[in-house]
């Protein structure tokens, strides 16, 4: 059985299933449908949804609510992600599980309000001062919008960190047909409970994550955006500060393989590999079908976990490949990561920044051009 729906509804349903109890957001196309639906749905589960005065307040309320026991999500687009920036850093240093949906549109600034873009890929990773890692996931279909949202809530709890979902205008606002039996429901872990009297932070061994404390429980809980010790008292002691910062790095980067999520559609006999993510990966799938129907051999890798970089899956996909084509709706933001890793293959890109989708025909043309030079 199939339904006629869109990515916004799929994200909302994924969040509700994952146990989301708090949402704060500010109107912006193409993310507003998520705000409006969460406002309608959360009261049904005893949760709270609110339209805040701006995006800074939206994410601030989410962080506060999380410390009071909620599981929170906010959603915006590029301009709002810009305003989230400083608080993303707060969620990183304070180790706050939080899901942030960026329904990308063409930028910079107001940009193509509202046409499709994938220009926030590096911004999502590096979008706050300090350079510390976050987790960034990208669904490539309406059905994946649902599964990825569940996964985002799970990873947020696992690593006590902000998890960004990079969706886009096309996935979220275009109605598509979904095979209902194909909705996946990855498990979402419950929030850990901090035993009374235990410190709300743990730095050693680096990457070990303590359960988050909760205001109004059996113990007093402290939270700070300054460098702090395990009990959240501000400290500048170099050994303590180094341990905290190393922990923030290690808990994500040293667990990249646990976070890694890709769809590898590899043909061992192919020498050309397409790599894409988000809505552009849909065009890639169409092109691969057409090429294979025409007897061509080609491999395709859809990246669902953009950050941390899924290096293991990438290296596996690079095996036997001489040409890699990276397709994205920007000037080559993810291509630079592929170029950095793929030392033995030639890397080229398909890029589009005119507010239109990359068409399957562009993949086919790139394939023809690569094969012609081979």
């Amino acid at each position: 059985m199939r339904e006629f729906t869109d990515g916004s509804a799929a994200i909302v349903r994924g969040a509700l299933e994952a146990g989301c109890t708090f949402f704060a957001g500010y109107p912006i196309t193409p993310a507003s449908p998520i705000l409006m639906q969460m406002l309608r749905e959360l009261p049904k589960v005893g949760g709270v949804a609110i339209q805040a005065e701006d995006e800074i307040a939206s994410i601030g309320m989410c962080i506060g609510a999380t410390l009071a026991g909620a599981r929170a999500m906010t959603a915006s687009s590029g301009p709002g992600l810009s305003l989230y920036s400083e608080n993303i850093g707060l969620a990183i240093i304070g180790e706050v599980p939080l899901v942030i949906v960026d329904v990308q549109r063409l930028g910079p600034a107001t940009g193509g309000a509202t046409t499709v873009g994938q220009g926030d890929v590096q911004f999502a990773r590096w979008g706050t001062a300090g350079g510390y890692p976050v987790i960034v996931l990208a669904p490539s279909s309406v059905s994946e919008c649902h599964a990825i949202t569940r996964r985002a809530f799970d990873l947020a709890e696992r690593f006590r960190c902000p998890v960004l979902i990079l969706a886009d205008k096309e996935l979220n606002l275009t109605t598509n047909t979904v095979d209902i039996a194909g909705y996946e429901a990855p498990p979402v872990r419950a929030r850990g409970v901090l035993p009374a009297g235990e410190a709300p932070y743990r730095y050693l061994p680096a990457g070990d994550v303590a359960p988050i404390g909760q205001f109004g429980g059996d113990a007093l809980i402290r939270f700070t955006g300054s460098t702090h010790d395990e009990r959240a008292f501000i400290t500048k002691a170099p050994d303590k500060v180094a341990a905290m910062n190393e922990h923030l790095r290690a808990k994500i980067e040293d667990h990249a393989e646990e976070i890694e999520l890709v769809v590898a559609d590899l043909d061992a006999g192919a020498t050309t590999l397409f790599i894409s993510y988000g809505v552009t990966a849909g065009s890639m799938r169409e092109a691969v079908r057409t090429l294979r129907a025409g007897g061509q051999r080609v491999s395709a890798l859809t990246i669902l976990s953009l950050w941390p970089l899924p290096e293991r899956a990438l290296r596996a996909a690079f095996e036997g490949v001489t040409h890699i084509v990276v397709a994205e709706l920007n000037h080559g933001q993810y291509r630079r990561e592929i170029e950095r890793l793929a030392r033995s293959a030639a890397v080229s890109g398909i890029h589009r920044v005119d507010g239109e989708l990359i068409a399957p025909g562009q993949f086919e043309a790139a394939f023809a051009s690569v094969e012609a030079t081979a």
Binding site: R2, F4, F22, K44, M61, L90, T174, T177, L357
Partner: protein, 441 residues
């Protein structure tokens, strides 16, 4: 959410760490009053959350045996709002400086308008004590700071008047020297509303030496600015967090959204993806007509995707729906070379010019007389709504033409379009069915 099992009130809400503030700084006295106020309230410290801002006052939470949140500059009210919304039973106290009322002005205003149950203590010493004594929203006229070397030229913000005029439930102004400060803090917390205490004090590191300020100066400035002290405002608006949860309570347990299956009941013979564009004007029900086509496709065992496009001024200009109908899942929702177009207005035609130019001779364009002169290689079918058996208003034109186009194209059973119209019964269903039938006739 676990509730505390036993209630323990403390002899003092201060811990043993000495304050770090400069000699003579007003923060000492205010925090002692806060501790006394909490003692008077006999609150379980686990039910108290102190949310501090940035600035010297932002250090304050560390000297209290309560729960605490120290966030970003100007945003303390947003975190406090999140805490209060998630746990309305907690007592949430915000400590911010005058600086926070500037950078976080929108939050101050919004929290007041909501009358959300926070107690906000503004440690107001007219300058940024942590960063070198720069001027703030409350620097008095003519005052010398490191960024107003010739004297401040800005009108100071009347914090109290602002929040009082915009929904706050409790507003008080005074100084750190006021003996009743702890009582006022307790009163404000007890009031369970947006309560703000604008507490004037002296920054002995910067403001005092630069402006020869003293305790007496505080009174002089108040008089000069005609900013009164004492309890300035009391109002009984509903408190937001409690009101929200009360309003939401009856909705509790209402079913959450689930996938909404459309069961195939018709057979379609489409063998490849078919791209259809419906282009008209705002108010013409273009998008809802297209949605019926998409649902009709699902009812026929096909897959469909629909992308809508309209200007931000939703009631004017073009309204365009791009539909892909396909015998298999649709991974690419773009339309580069339409198989058919339904053109309903000049606005619509202007929007789809590029795709119209890409059409092939085997494509079909269905045009109303207004746009029948359209230049295209595709075959043009004129649709004349004026010759319909009844007069069609603007709201029925698009569906009439879409039904006519589908009938000619033969890509979907017309019964599926009628069945789609009945998926969402409304008072318009009869009219919609009638429009489809005369369109297909």
């Amino acid at each position: 959410m676990s509730e505390p099992t036993t209630i323990t009130t403390l002899a003092s809400y201060r811990n043993e760490t000495p304050y770090p503030f400069c000699p003579g700084c007003g923060h000492h006295a205010i925090l002692d009053h806060l501790s006394d106020g909490l003692m008077a309230l006999k609150l379980d410290p686990r039910q108290v959350v102190i949310v501090s801002d940035i600035g010297c006052s932002g250090l304050s939470d560390q000297y209290f045996d309560t729960s605490a949140f120290h966030g970003l500059h100007g945003r303390s009210i947003t975190y406090a709002t999140g805490v209060k919304l998630a746990r309305p039973d907690l007592k949430v106290i915000v400590i911010m400086g005058d600086g926070g009322t500037g950078i976080g002005g929108a939050h101050l205003l919004s929290a007041a308008r909501r009358n959300i149950g926070l107690t906000v203590l503004v440690f107001n010493n007219f300058n940024f004590g942590m960063t070198g004594g720069q001027h703030s929203t409350t620097t008095p006229p003519g005052a010398i700071t490191s960024t107003t070397p010739g004297g401040s030229m800005e009108r100071p913000l009347d914090i109290c008047a602002t929040v009082a005029a915009n929904g706050a439930g409790y507003v008080w102004r005074g100084t750190n020297f006021d003996k009743d400060l702890s009582e006022r803090i307790a009163e404000a917390v007890r009031a369970e509303c947006f309560a703000l205490l604008d507490i004037w004090e002296l920054c002995t590191a910067y403001y005092v030496p630069k402006n020869k300020a003293s305790r007496k100066t505080l009174t002089t400035i108040m008089n000069d600015l005609q900013m009164q002290s004492g309890l300035l405002h009391r109002a009984e608006h509903p408190e937001y967090a409690a009101a929200y949860h009360a309003a939401a309570a009856p909705m509790r347990g209402t079913p959450l959204p689930v996938p909404w299956p459309i069961e195939p009941r018709f057979a379609a013979t489409l063998e490849r993806p078919f791209q259809l564009i419906v282009a008209g004007s705002a108010g013409g029900k273009v998008l809802s007509s297209a949605r019926l086509v998409g649902e009709a496709a699902l009812l026929s065992g096909l897959w469909a995707a629909q992308r809508d496009d309209y200007p931000i001024t939703v009631k004017s200009g073009h309204s365009v729906a791009e539909l892909v109908l396909s015998p298999r899942a649709i991974d690419y929702t773009g339309i580069d070379q339409p198989d058919a177009m339904v053109l309903l207005s000049r606005d619509g035609v202007a929007k789809v010019g590029r795709q119209l130019a890409a059409m092939q001779p085997d494509g079909h364009v269905f045009a109303v007389p207004e746009v029948a002169d359209v230049q295209t290689r595709a075959r043009v079918h004129l649709i004349e709504p004026a010759r319909a058996p009844l007069k069609l208003g603007a709201g029925r034109l698009s569906l009439f033409c879409v039904a006519r186009a589908l009938k000619i194209l033969g890509i979907l059973p017309m019964g599926a379009l009628e069945a789609a119209a009945q998926l969402h019964p409304s008072e318009r269903t009869g009219e919609i069915l009638e429009t489809i039938r005369i369109g297909a006739a």
